[in-house]
């Protein structure tokens, strides 16, 4: 079964990662983050970051427009709820397909250029999508009010099986309701599948081709590879991941607004990936979790909380400290994010994962020290 095969090291990573994701409701409790709404975000944005990393981490093409595919995924899923059924499966399939179709179109044009020009092109396309969603496409996107469910929606497939109940229906999975934890576990399973597929890409010949494109595109074409379709394939795959994430967002909250496609949202995806560690499997996930966690903490702070935190300071000083700190919380939490991002990029250009590597190098653990000793004795085992 080649399809399920992974090198042992990656299988261990996958096993540990699965345990970490599935036990989130337990280990997030001490952080006060173990409620479904936040955990759903953790998992969904992890999918987004993992997919983005397939493009940016492997090929080096930095897309500044991935939020567009996220938005497309959400709109598609909500339309699937409105027209067909409240079941999650068709919604997700359509979201992935539409994310891929949009990525194919935008990628086909944008990949004619590389480097900064590619980034600008993707940014321009994403902003166009955002503006279209607000203006011309209002019949599809419902503009500023955001696309929502209504009692009068046709829901053709659901209609075949019975009368609609009173009130708005909510998303379901094969008849089971998807509330809170159920929705979280659905998203978690989808994340694990997505993570596994990304791992497969990373260790496959296809992944090596993508890395080679990043490393030296001239050599790649003189080696007999048509590089454009490779980069386009990576772009479409990562667009499908973004569409999937958008679909899941719509499942946890059946509402799709254009602000999901704004450039700040695209920028956030880039931040997550860089903060965690571009090109690593785990890094982008950690980046996504950290940003969503910090956002949750800092944006909830207000002056009242700050006064309580700094109440140990003398009165005059406290006023000043609170005044300054208040600029970094609540609405201004992006300022904190910017600072964290700057510090990471300046001191740890490889992101948090580079920090982990450096720590490991500085304090070799018992097992790796033992391994080194063994290798000295028996060089043939050194591979």
């Amino acid at each position: 079964m080649d399809f399920l095969r992974l090198p042992k090291k990656d299988l261990i990573t996958f096993a540990v990662f699965s345990v970490v994701v599935l036990t989130m409701p337990i280990w997030l409790q001490p952080f006060g983050a173990a409620y479904p709404g936040l955990m759903q975000k953790f998992v969904i944005f992890a999918i987004l970051a993992v997919g983005f990393n397939i493009l940016f981490g492997l090929t080096g093409y930095l897309s500044f427009g991935h939020a567009a595919f996220l938005g497309v995924g959400s709109y598609t899923a909500v339309w699937s709820f409105k027209l067909l059924t409240m079941d999650a499966i068709p919604a997700l399939i359509f979201a992935v397909v539409m994310g891929g179709v949009f990525a194919l179109a935008i990628g086909y044009v944008s990949l004619r250029r590389s480097g900064i020009y590619f980034s600008i092109l993707t940014l321009a396309f994403a902003q166009m999508s955002y503006n279209l969603a607000y203006s011309v496409l209002t019949p599809i996107t419902n503009g500023e009010t955001a696309l929502q469910l209504a009692r009068t929606d046709p829901r053709i497939i659901d209609g075949l099986f019975g009368e609609a109940g009173a009130g708005l229906p909510s998303p379901s999975l094969l008849g089971a309701n998807l509330n809170g934890f159920e929705a979280f576990y659905l998203c978690a399973v989808v994340l694990l599948v997505s993570f596994f597929i990304a791992q497969k890409i990373f260790v496959s010949p296809f992944g090596m081709m993508l890395r080679a494109i990043k490393s030296n595109q001239t050599r790649m074409s003189y080696t007999g590879f048509n590089t454009r379709p490779y980069a386009l394939a990576a772009f479409v795959i990562s667009g499908m991941y973004a569409g999937l994430a958008g679909g899941l967002l719509a499942i946890t909250d059946p509402l799709a607004g254009a602000e999901r496609m704004q450039w700040t949202a695209s920028g956030e995806i880039v931040l997550m990936t860089i903060l965690g560690g571009v090109g690593t499997m785990i890094g982008p996930v950690i980046g996504a979790w950290l940003i969503k966690y910090l956002e949750n903490i800092f944006s909830a702070f207000n002056e009242g909380t700050l006064h309580r935190v700094f109440s140990f300071l003398p009165d005059g000083v406290e006023e000043w400290v609170v005044l300054i700190a208040s600029k970094f919380v609540g609405e201004g939490w992006h300022l904190t994010l910017g600072l964290v991002f700057m510090l990471v990029v300046i001191f740890l250009p490889g992101g948090i994962m580079e920090g982990v590597r450096r720590l490991r190098a500085a304090f070799p653990s018992g097992s790796s020290a033992r391994r080194n000793r063994r290798n000295e004795l028996n060089p043939s085992a050194a591979e």
Partner: protein, 255 residues
């Protein structure tokens, strides 16, 4: 010279103008299968332009390049490679961020799977055949010890060996070498010559551009001398060496 039977590479009446400058004029070249043909000439003679025209990097103003019945002119680099043409660059073009082993495995995939194939079901470490082939190739060029290192960390001479390995693993029918010893120490030059001599027996056709006469006369079967964008002399090494026009181009020119 054009009438010979087993000519595999044919450069027919190629002209190249850059603006008003005639970089190449009336270039006719025929290389026989299995032979090593050297293109020599003083700096600015148009050697690199000619090689770039052959490999499809620069379109000629007029004329055509035919390899084994296929017109190369107008084809993309990857299409030309898929026809069995590999190229060694003046500055080694490798994948610095990949391991030495992966550098050599990548071209083997291009040979096996073609210009584009999404191959993601079987992990790399399950591709035993290609891996073994790559390891044998690295053994051949003397890089077996460096297999796991990042290619970017290799010395200039080792990068050249690696690039050669990357070309050779594709078993090209035509190998183009652009000043393979440029910028190398005497020692690296000698080991590279040894390596090129070693692969000579493999029967591929080679076109080599070189200004180092030592390299040329130890490798070439036939030689064309380029000066001012024209071929001023061609033939067997000894004949070319004795040709007064060649002496003049080299000694009477800018030197």
């Amino acid at each position: 010279m054009n009438m010979r039977e087993n000519v595999v590479l044919h450069v027919a009446d190629v002209h190249k103008n850059f603006g008003g400058l005639h970089a190449l004029a009336d270039i006719d070249l025929a290389v026989e299968e299995g032979k090593t043909h050297a293109i020599i000439g003083p700096n600015g003679a148009g050697k690199s332009t000619l090689l770039n025209v052959i490999i499809g990097r620069i379109p000629p103003t007029s004329g055509a390049v035919v390899f084994d019945g296929e017109v190369l002119t107008g084809k993309k680099p990857h299409e030309i490679n898929q026809l069995g043409v590999s190229r060694v660059f003046q500055t080694p073009e490798i994948f610095p961020e990949l391991s030495v082993l992966h550098n050599v495995m990548t071209p083997a995939f291009a040979k096996r799977d073609g210009a584009f194939r999404i191959n993601m079901t079987r992990p790399l470490d399950g591709e035993a055949a290609i891996r073994e082939e790559a390891e044998a190739m690295l053994e051949d060029v003397g890089l077996a010890e460096r297999i796991g290192e990042h290619a970017g960390a290799l010395s200039r001479g080792d990068k050249r060996r690696l690039e050669l390995a990357m070309c050779l693993i594709q078993k090209p029918r035509l190998l183009l070498l652009d000043e393979p010893t440029a910028g190398m120490s005497r020692h690296d030059t000698n080991t590279t010559i040894e390596l090129l001599k070693k692969i000579k027996s493999r029967g591929m056709t080679k076109v080599i551009i070189e200004h180092d006469m030592h390299v040329v006369f130890s490798l070439a079967d036939t030689i064309s001398v380029l000066a001012g964008g024209r071929i001023i002399s061609e033939g067997l090494p000894d004949a070319v060496r004795g040709d007064p026009r060649v002496q003049e181009a080299y000694l009477g020119g800018a030197h």
